[in-house]
């Protein structure tokens, strides 16, 4: 199995979720994150003092999938999260050894 992690723009989450669901992914986990990268942050001003905020809000999404699906899932995410503008984010994959479904104790692909 593979753990696919994607860092994307917040407003793409809905489309990414729908695309994955359509493909047949049954579950995923989402966290709020902040990204630092080529996409610059912004300036804030408080009583004349300027603040550079380097970090841009991002959504971090994790989905564990069967080895066979990994490539497909990565490209589905890439497509659904794409806007073409700087800051669209990254998708990476990491090997997973075991996964257990807490409710049933099922292991491996059955736990997905």
């Amino acid at each position: 199995m593979r753990l696919i992690t994607a860092v994307i723009k917040p407003h793409r989450l809905d489309d990414v979720k729908t695309a994955l669901q359509t493909f047949g992914v049954q579950g995923l986990t989402v966290t709020e994150a902040s990204g630092f990268g080529r996409q610059h942050g912004h300036t804030e001003v408080y009583r004349g003092a300027e603040y550079r905020v380097d970090l841009v809000p991002k959504i971090r999404l994790e989905v564990v999938v069967d080895d066979d699906d990994a490539a497909d899932v990565m490209s589905i995410i890439t497509k659904a999260a794409h806007t073409g503008k700087i800051g669209d984010g990254k998708v990476w994959s990491v090997p997973v050894e075991t996964i257990i479904r807490v409710r049933t104790g099922e292991r491996g692909p059955d736990a997905l």
Binding site: K9, H11, S34, G41, E44, Y51, R52, D54, K58
Partner: protein, 456 residues
């Protein structure tokens, strides 16, 4: 406003009453507090990325409207009639001639003028709810000034000014602002919402309130201030003020319960947001009638408003106009309900004008006048506002750029973020440039030209 008594009072000032003055001073402060209250009420309803802009629309309305009012708005609205009850003259520009000892009725003219100002302010601020999250700030500032001068001031004169034709010719009643404040802001809100068009993602993206406790706080402050608004309109600390206060409470309560009962039936849940909305709908509806009906009449008016408004807020989804925070559904509809029902529930045991509605044997006469006044006010407000908004949009621009709207106006327009509750915020830097205020740096010379655009 104790409309029947006023013209006479203006003509023949009595002696100052410290009691009446005390009440009107406080009522003025209470109504002024309604606008910051509204800022929070509205601010809690929008998404976290534009709450500051929403608040800023109310606060800037306070400033702009006050200055216009002091400069000439008051004079045009409440100065001597130029003829036909259409508009006042310029005799009191910059409060010319208003000394501390000038009286209006039993109170200093200055406090009556300030009390009226607070009505103008909140009327303008109310409109901002219809155009949340997508308005150019500069456009809004200009709109505030122009709209109060060209729309609010005439209507205020027609209804409450010396010889105002809606009161004197048409004979319609509006105790505390159903026509002037509620229907006016509601119709104007619709017009501006149509000119600006819907928010990006309207009907598709969820745009749920980001902070409901803030909404409830705003509702609490509005409720408090509304006692000043309605009971203050008696222009004295007397039985009429007491009756208005009681009616205000009665209508707010039946409307609150009416709204959440509809919700419970229709949606399966009585919501907090619905309770706040219902209370406000009832307060809106009782505004024109609070000094003209008895308590059971107020209960009926509130209940009607609560039920009807709870349905009316759904119209925008059906018809597709993006009245973001329901200025039409609550203020227009509530205002119409309250103003029209005066024709049904007015009772001469209460109203100083001595009028009776249908229910108390007054026939259909008053009802007809009330409906006519509603139509005239709504039509004028809608049409004039539409033109004003269109002109602003074509000239200096009234709609924020799509980019700014996506990022959120707080960052794009005000360079601020509402909340910084986490520890990641620590990872920003104090930019050294700022410390010395060297004037706009080249990169910031044209704010629209942000080098660090970020469309999330």
């Amino acid at each position: 406003m104790n409309a029947a008594a006023l013209p006479t009072q203006l003509a023949a000032p009595a002696e100052l009453s410290a009691g009446d003055t005390a009440w009107l001073l406080v009522a003025t402060a209470m109504v002024l507090l309604m606008t910051p209250g509204l800022a929070l009420f509205y601010g809690g309803m929008v998404r976290a990325k534009s709450v500051l802009n929403m608040i800023m629309m109310s606060f800037s309305a306070i400033a702009v409207v006050s200055l216009v009012w002091f400069a000439f708005g008051w004079s045009l609205a409440f100065g001597d009639d130029l003829g036909g009850g259409l508009i006042g003259d310029f005799g009191q520009v910059f409060l010319h001639g208003m000394k501390p000892d000038s009286l209006t009725g039993t109170v200093p003219s200055l406090v009556f003028m300030a009390f009226q100002l607070t009505f103008a302010i909140i009327t303008v601020a109310l409109i901002s709810g219809a155009i949340a999250d997508r308005t150019k700030f500069r456009g809004w500032l200009v709109f505030c000034a122009v709209w109060v001068a060209l729309v609010y001031v005439p209507i205020a004169h027609w209804v409450w000014g010396p010889n105002g034709w809606i009161r004197e010719e048409l004979g319609a009643l509006d105790f505390a602002g159903g026509l002037v404040v509620e229907i006016n802001s509601g119709a104007a809100g619709l017009a501006v919402a149509l000119v600006l068009g819907p928010r990006l993602g309207f009907k598709r993206d969820p745009m749920r309130p980001h902070n409901l406790p803030l909404v409830m706080l705003g509702a609490g402050l509005l409720w408090f201030g509304w006692f000043g608004f309605n009971a203050g309109s008696a222009l004295g600390a007397n039985g009429l003020a007491a009756q208005s206060l009681v009616n205000t409470q009665a209508a707010a309560c039946t409307a609150l319960l009416g709204w959440i009962m509809v919700e419970r039936k229709r949606d399966g849940h009585a919501t907090t947001f619905g309770a706040a909305s219902g209370a406000v709908a009832g307060l809106v509806a009782i505004t024109p009638s609070c000094g003209l009906v008895d308590m059971p009449g107020a209960m009926a008016i509130g209940l009607a408003a609560g039920v009807l408004c709870s349905y009316a807020v759904g119209w925008k989804h059906k018809f597709g106009y993006d009245d973001s925070l329901d200025v039409v559904g609550v203020h227009f509809v509530g205002g119409v309900v309250g103003t029209v029902l005066i024709g049904v529930f007015a009772w001469d045991a209460v109203t100083p004008a001595g009028e009776r509605g249908l229910l108390h044997g007054g026939g259909l006469g008053l009802l007809g006048k009330q409906i006519a006044a509603v139509l005239v006010t709504a039509a004028f407000s809608f049409a004039a506002t539409y033109v004003i908004a269109k002109v602003i949009d074509r000239t200096i621009g009234f709609r924020a750029s799509a980019d700014d709207e996506m990022r959120g106006l707080d960052l794009a327009v005000h360079a601020e973020t509402a909340y910084d509750l986490g520890s990641v915020g620590a990872a920003s830097h104090l930019s050294s440039a700022a410390k010395a205020h060297p004037g706009p740096s080249p990169a910031r010379a044209e704010p629209a030209d942000r080098i660090d655009a970020d469309e999330d």
